[in-house]
């Protein structure tokens, strides 16, 4: 489905759109609530090496909706997906 493919292309871990940040009530310079727990229990298994601003990445990277960096992003999304 075209809409799903577009979402997969546009959205990446480590970055939150203005729209979503507004819905979450997350202010500029504020880390999403799950970051501190990630620091305690480790990063997501699929995002090994994830760097979070203020934790294991410089805090100055926290801007424009970006709060983390994931390198070697795994291929995501099921190409057979037909959900609507």
């Amino acid at each position: 489905e075209a809409q799903w493919r577009k979402m997969i292309k546009d959205k990446v871990p480590g970055k939150l759109s203005t729209n979503l940040r507004t819905a979450m009530g997350l202010e500029d310079g504020q880390l999403p609530p799950w970051c501190m727990t990630m620091n305690e229990i480790g990063m997501p298994p699929a995002y090994a090496g994830m760097q979070v601003a203020g934790i294991n990445w410089d805090i100055s990277n926290l801007k424009d909706g970006t709060y983390a960096k994931v390198t070697n992003l795994p291929k995501i999304g099921n190409k057979n997906n037909k959900s609507q």
Binding site: K11, P13, L16, A23, I41, A46, N78, N81, S83
Partner: protein, 97 residues
Amino acid sequence: MNNSTDVSKSVYVGNVDPRVTKEELYELFIQLGPVNKIRYPKDKVLQTYQGYAFIEFSKEKDLEYVLNLVSKTNNGNIMKLYDRWLRIRRTGDNNNS
């Protein structure tokens, strides 16, 4: 057409404000792990979202990580949209309300 999600890899998400879009759910949950599929039903007559969704992750270990992360964050309050905390639970787990 296959609209179901794999129970062994999915979370149930409740208390979803009807203004929340499927795209927002996708963007939110990929922060925690790769998402394969989302089922977010609409009322057939009213065409409004029904307040819950199923998010299928890529692998079982992604699901286990997310459940662990949720349980260790602020009494399960980890994601809030439009001032409502999402209720995130293992799919098929009815004993935990």
